[in-house]
Each structure stands twice: as structure tokens, then as C-alpha cells.
Amino acid sequence: MAIAAARLATRHTVRLASQTDFAGWREAARTLALNGVDPADISWTVEGHDANDLFAEPAQLPAVPADAELRVPRRFVDLAEAVICHSDPARFGFLYRILWRLQREPHLLSVATDPDVRRLEEMEKSVRRDIHKMRAFVRFRRIADEAGERFVAWFEPAHFIVERNAPFFVRRFTGMRWTILTPQATADWDGTNLAIGPGASKSDAPAEDAAEELWRTYFRSIFNPARLKVKAMTAEMPKKYWRNLPEASLIPDLIAGAEKSAREMIERMPTMPAPHHQTVQAKHWKNRPEESETDGAAAASVAELRKAAAGCRRCPLWRDATQTVFGEGPENARVVFVGEQPGDQEDIAGKPFVGPAGRLFDAIIEDAGIDRATTYVTNAVKHFKFEPRGKRRIHARPNAGEIEACRWWIDHELTLIRPDLVVALGATAAQSLLGKAVPITKMRGQTVTREDGLKVFLTVHPSYLLRLPDEAKAAERGRFLADLKAVKGLMG
């Protein structure tokens, strides 16, 4: 990192040790900036590349004033480390100018609309892209040497990126011995050490690798001639890279033949089914049990009813949901709890009352002294109704038509279970069980006896508690618990 500077009147010349000598640039830039040297008064050169300044005797940089400090945003350091690798010879001076401006405009880098910041970002992007393309387009060839196998690649990057990019190849190909040759530098990994050496030439790289024929076969076969989009390909894989890509030699022929292949695919008339098709059909699909298509009216048990409901299409709610979420619990339960509809988690799990409201419900009935294992829980509507919102689903209320359609199932469940008491949790359940809308907040805690003699106890849905602010929650939980204790009393 030898830094030599020559002072010609007010001009300073900085000679960096190499094209990517970031440490050298940093130290010189720091010193010059602290001395207030204007960007226009500095020439930046690289050892061995400074033909213009051959006559300039290197001189010391000015001393750094005592306890002077230079502060820059962390992001500038990151950007500068990348931009140093750019092939533009003006980059050193340009970076210094940004450093210079940062001393006066500390927020400069946030001003993405500033022309200098734009250029800085563009340069960084160009380096990043080159690094990315190198990771993509390096093609190793396998050779055997005294120590076993070794993988060697020839690559021609646009910027000075070999050293910056080499650790990636170490992380990825740790268990291999490999060498990447480029015109500016060579990276070599022997399985334990990474060495960066001088540039090489293409003739130093091996000529063939048997795997390339397989790779070309793959490239040819994965291409769909009916979708030819040459521009989209060349935008991402510019022609300048082709000469070092074994598969690229196929491209002209694939393009030329695409139209014809695609036409042939379209024109080729459907033929007779393949000979083995009949055998496969007979063996695998002939006796496949069909999903139940009964309406469940004749079901003799809840299990049969559940099966029938799995294929229910009585209202449109099945379309968007995952599955029918049927009731759960012993068939001889004395009390049946009826909620509104399955929620997001119930829909995924296929079980009722497993989401947040279900867990709250479990906790509170336990407090009320009711053994959940002796109860049957179900919903008035068996499919989840929702509105998608990004990665979530927002619960939507079932309408009267959907409640009515789904009564078919709850009626049959109740007929088969014959409980002493049904608890309607919330307005939807009450509407389903009583056949009409009832003001649930007014009537909670009451028991209504239906015409058929079934007793229906009314209370709120536990999800109501979840939506309340914390202060109100405790009080409401108490009221809900009181309701459930009343249920416990009614259960006898």
C-alpha cells in the first residue's frame, strides 16, 4: 500500500499500489480531505499505469493535522469499496469528490436524486452486476493432475472484481480444488488457501470437459421452441459472454429451428392413446372410491354425516375455503356448542375451535368447570368465509343465505346427537339455531326453547372478547365465564 504523492505547485498526485488498492485510496483521501485539498487539485494513478506522470517525483502527502477527524456514513465506505473495482480510470477522483461533498452535505447519500449520487449508485450497480455475472457464467472444466482432480475456468470480467468475488467461490466450492483465470488476476483455491495471482491468458485454460456434452443436451432439451424470446435471453446473457459458455454455441441453431419445431408441435394431430394407457386406467382408477356425493340425509352417524359434508356444494363458500370443517366431539354429548364459522386456522387444520378464539374458549370453559371432552363443538357455517388481504385472510360474516344453506348440516348433527342443551355462541349461531336474527347482546344468558323442544342458551362468541381493548376484556371475560357457569348449571 505504498503511497507516494508529488506536489506540483498546488497539485497532488497519488499513486496507488494496484487497481483495487482501497486501503491506499482511503488513506490518501483521508489525508487530503483533512488538509482541505480540493478534488480538482489531485491526480490519481496506479502503479505501473501512470504513463503521464513518469517525470513526477513521488513526494510525501501533507501531514494530518493533529486530532483532526473525518467522518463518513458507513454506507459510503461500502459503496466506495465496491466502486474501487470499477474499470473507469476516473473512479478514484470521483470517489474523492463524493467524500469531499459529504463533509459539507452529510446527508448527501440519501439524496438519491443527486447526479453524483446517481452516478455512484450506477457504478456500484455495474460492479455488482459484473460480480453477479461472474458467479453465473464461470464454467469450470475438470482436469486430473498429480494431486487428483482440479477445476479450472477462464473468465473475462468487465471490472476488477476477481479478488472481491473470490470468497464467494470459496464458500461455494470449498470441497474442490479450483482456479479461475482472468486477464487481470487469477484466483486459486487448493482446498485450504486462497491465493490471488497475476493475470493469465485463455490458452492457459483446459480445452474440453466431457460433462459439457451433457450440459448442452440439457440446455437444448429445456428450451421450449414455442416460447422463443431472443431479446429476453440476450438482455440477461449478453453476447459478450457467449464465447466462454459451452452451451452458447447451440443458440443460433435453436433459434433458427424454433419456428419449425413449434409449428410441428401445433400441427401434429393428436394420436391414439399410448398402448399402456388402458392398462394403467384399469389398474389404478377403475375402482377408486369416489368421494361421497350423498347429501347426508340418510347418515346414521356423525361420522357418516361428516363424510357427506366434505363434498358439500350447497352454497358457494366451498369454493374459496380449503375444506369443510365439521363438528367434533362425542356423539352422546349432552351439550353442543355452536360457533359462527371456522376461521383461518380452523380452515387450515380442518378442525373447529383451534384458533385464537378456540383457545380462549377452551380456557374459559375449563374455568367454568365444564369438561371439553364431554362436549360437542361445531359451527353454524362449515366453510371459512374471508377476504384475501396480501398474505392474510380477513374474516367475513356469512350472510343469511349461507346460514340457511348450512343449517342442513347443523340440523342433522343435532338430530343425531340429541343433546339436552345447545349453546349458541354469537349472533350467527343464534340465527341458525332459531331461524331468525336475534339481538344477542340483549338476550345473552337466556335460554330459548324451540318448537321442537330443543333448549338453546344464548351468549356471545369468544372472538368478541379478542377484539376488545384490554381494560374491557377482563370485565367481558367475567361475563362470559358467568354465562358458561350458567350453562354448567343447566347441564345438571
Binding site: F140, A153, A226, E236
Partner: protein, 411 residues
């Protein structure tokens, strides 16, 4: 009959896989081989190692284990009634091919799928075994995407998630009716339940366990799906509705749209035409609007009574032209949500606008430096010293901002 040489098998089984659109290798956790001393790494985003002349990225070795299949899905080249040539890789052949390709830096990893032979579980078990041998016997740290067979057992799915970075289940077509008509042996219900099952496992794995405080491993790259577009008459509105439902319900990383492509020896049940590539492109743009610009699926097609996206212009521009009253948007004042609705401003441009305007009032040329084309943005914004004036009300606005017809030709 002697088994065909590996090269022929590869030709058949890659050809059989090429109609599947997804090839992404993103979303994995960061890994490298420094500790294991093996090979393979994954970083934040995957790398496309080559591009085929169809413009698609080649990032993974995308093959089928076998193209024998007991299903008879009309749109699929591997359906049991097809006269296509059949082949079958052995487990070790796929393992070796993956490693050979990976060592030469041709690929990021493997995307393995298969026709279903004998039973779903047997097939799934072989798929899982390939991944297991790669990971455990060969210390392979590259990307692995496994196609999950919906009917396979939960234990096999569990194992698949242990080795794979991403799992996917194809919904095949945008509607259940479509699946039942064109893929008569498939059950839309089963497909949904499997996706729900994956979501459950993914979420469970994301929760640190109480005891070890560590997350368990299950497909860190999440799940994705694909549906074929243009094999039946489903309009775009229904397709987007299905996507919105899938994103919301199963937390998918991606929904891939695959323009139905003619296949050799095609079924008579299907249209014989070139794949609708422009339509596919517009659907991806609309999908992007839902995922990144905050549009609701219904808004996107509100102005289109036929439920089809305008093929001539980008759906975001189409929406803006239909909602001119919310424009012009003031780049110096408008909230992020509104800026995201400006045609020509992407998420990155909006981020830059927001960061820059804290420090200075933005002029038109400032905005021009952070977006692709200021000409497209100009009519919809107000900036310091700039107002579109009557341009927004102009009858000719569409012609001014829409790309010239020539650029529309994809062929």
C-alpha cells in the same frame, strides 16, 4: 431392452420438465460449505446460470425422475395416454448429474419432480431419497426444490422439508372445474389440503421450540405453486382471484403462471395454438401489483367488463388511465401508498423519492434520475416546478404514454 444411455435419458426427462415455469432458486437460508468441506452454497437470491432462447432463466437442473405417469392430465406431455418416449433415472444417476453440473458451476441446484408411478408414496419416497443422498451422503449445500405429490403421506412430506429449500404443489388450473375436466384423476380438494398441510408445517417450523429455542428446519424457501393459463376459457379476473386466495390462504412465496404451450402428441381437449405469452406477462404484472403495490385483486380489473387484462398496456397504467381523478400525485407530499400507484414508479423508485424528499424539494429531473422513464411518469405527478396541466384530461393520454405498437410484438 437395454437402458438408454444417460444422455438420452437426460434429453427425455429434461424435455418432460420444461413446461413447468418455476425455476427460481431464491428464498433459501444462507449456507456455505466452509464447515462441511463439501460443495454448495445459497445466498440471498439465486443465480441464473444461463438463459435459454425462450428467455427463461436456467438456474436449476430441472428434471423428472421419470416421465412414466399413471395420471392422464390432458395438458401434460407425460400423461399416461401420451405416446412420448419414456425414461427413468435411477436415484444415483440424478445425484451424480446434479453434482457433476454443480461442480462446473452450471447450476444452483436441483428441481426434482416426477411422474407418478405405482403409488404416490413410492414416487415421493424416491424423490426424497435423491435429496437425502445429496445432503447427507455428499454434503451438498446447493438449492433443492422438490415437487410434492399431494397424495403422499405426511411423514414423507416431513422428510422432504428437512432436505429441500422449497416445496411446491401445482394447483394446475385456476378453477376446480378446470382441474376436474382436464385432470380427471386429480382432486382439487386434496391439492388444497396438501398446501394447507405445508403451511402448517412451515409455520410450526418457524416457531422456536420451547426446549431448544431453535427453529426446526422445514423448507426455509417456503412453498410455491403454478397454474396453467390459456388451456381453458377462464378469464384473468378469475385467475387473479384464485391467486389472491392462494397467497392469503397458504402464504405462498410465488404463484407461477404458465402460458399453455402446445405439446407434441397433444390431447384433442386442448387449444392448438402458440402459448399466450403476452397474457402470461400481464398476469405477472398484475400479480406484482397485488404483492408489492397494494392493489386489491378486484381493483385491477374493475374497468374491464370482460374480466381480461388489456394486452396492449401494463395493468398499472391501465388502472391509472381509468382512475385519473386521483392523479396527479404530488411527489413531494403524497404518502407511499399513493406513490406506488403512479405508473412507472416501482418500489425502489418510491423508496428513493421518499428518502430524497426529506432533504430537498424534488423537481421533475430529480424523479427522472430514480425511475426508468420520466416520460411515462410525467403525466401523473406534480413536482417542484412541474404540473401536468391538462395532459391528464387529454383524450390522447393513452397514446402518449402507451408503448408504441411495435414494441408490443413478442415474436
Amino acid at each position: 431392452m437395454p437402458a438408454p444411455p444417460i444422455r438420452e435419458k437426460l434429453a427425455i426427462l429434461a424435455d418432460a420438465a420444461k413446461y413447468d415455469a418455476s425455476c427460481a432458486s431464491s428464498g433459501a437460508d444462507r449456507r456455505n460449505s466452509l464447515k462441511s468441506g463439501g460443495i454448495g452454497s445459497t445466498e440471498a437470491t439465486g443465480i441464473c446460470h444461463a438463459y435459454a432462447p425462450d428467455g427463461r432463466c436456467i438456474s436449476l437442473l430441472k428434471v423428472l425422475l421419470t416421465n412414466f405417469c399413471i395420471y392422464d392430465c390432458a395438458y401434460c406431455i407425460n400423461r399416461s395416454s401420451s405416446n412420448v418416449r419414456r425414461a427413468r433415472f435411477s436415484i444415483d444417476e440424478v445425484v451424480k448429474l446434479t453434482l457433476d453440473f454443480y461442480r462446473r458451476n452450471y447450476i444452483e441446484g436441483l428441481f426434482l419432480s416426477s411422474g407418478v408411478i405405482r403409488s404416490p408414496d413410492e414416487t415421493m419416497a424416491e424423490i426424497v431419497e435423491v435429496a437425502r443422498r445429496l445432503r447427507l451422503e455428499n454434503s451438498f449445500g446447493g438449492y433443492i426444490h422438490l415437487k410434492t405429490i399431494p397424495e403422499a403421506s405426511q411423514e414423507l412430506i416431513e422428510q422432504a422439508g428437512l432436505y429441500a429449500d422449497r416445496l411446491s404443489i401445482n394447483v394446475e388450473l385456476p378453477t376446480d372445474e378446470g382441474v376436474m375436466r382436464l385432470a380427471p384423476e386429480k382432486r382439487p380438494q386434496t391439492i388444497r389440503r396438501s398446501m394447507a398441510g405445508l403451511r402448517e408445517k412451515l409455520e410450526a417450523a418457524a416457531e422456536p421450540t420451547l426446549r431448544t429455542k431453535k427453529r426446526s428446519r422445514f423448507a426455509p424457501g417456503g412453498q410455491s405453486t403454478q397454474m396453467i393459463v390459456g388451456a381453458d376459457t377462464t378469464p384473468d379476473a378469475t385467475i387473479l382471484k384464485t391467486s389472491a386466495r392462494l397467497y392469503g390462504s397458504y402464504r405462498l412465496r410465488r404463484v407461477y403462471y404458465s402460458a399453455f404451450s402446445p405439446i407434441p402428441d397433444s390431447s384433442a381437449a386442448l387449444p392448438s395454438m402458440k402459448p399466450p405469452l403476452m397474457r402470461e406477462h400481464r398476469l405477472y404484472q398484475a400479480d406484482w401489483m397485488m404483492r408489492f403495490y397494494g392493489f386489491d385483486q378486484r381493483e385491477i380489473l374493475a374497468g374491464r367488463p370482460d374480466g381480461m387484462l388489456d394486452l396492449a398496456i401494463d395493468p398499472k397504467l391501465a388502472w391509472a388511465l381509468d382512475h385519473r381523478t386521483i392523479f396527479p400525485v404530488d411527489v413531494n407530499r403524497a404518502p407511499r401508498e399513493l406513490l406506488l400507484r403512479v405508473p412507472g414508479l416501482g418500489t425502489k423508485a418510491v423508496k428513493r423519492v421518499l428518502a430524497s424528499r426529506v432533504h430537498r424539494r424534488l423537481r421533475l429531473e430529480d424523479v427522472g434520475r430514480v425511475c426508468q422513464s420520466i416520460a411515462a411518469v410525467r403525466p401523473f405527478i406534480v413536482a417542484e416546478g412541474w404540473s401536468p396541466g391538462g395532459a391528464l384530461d387529454s383524450e390522447r393520454l393513452r397514446e402518449t404514454v402507451a408503448p408504441k405498437a411495435k414494441q408490443l410484438e413478442l415474436f
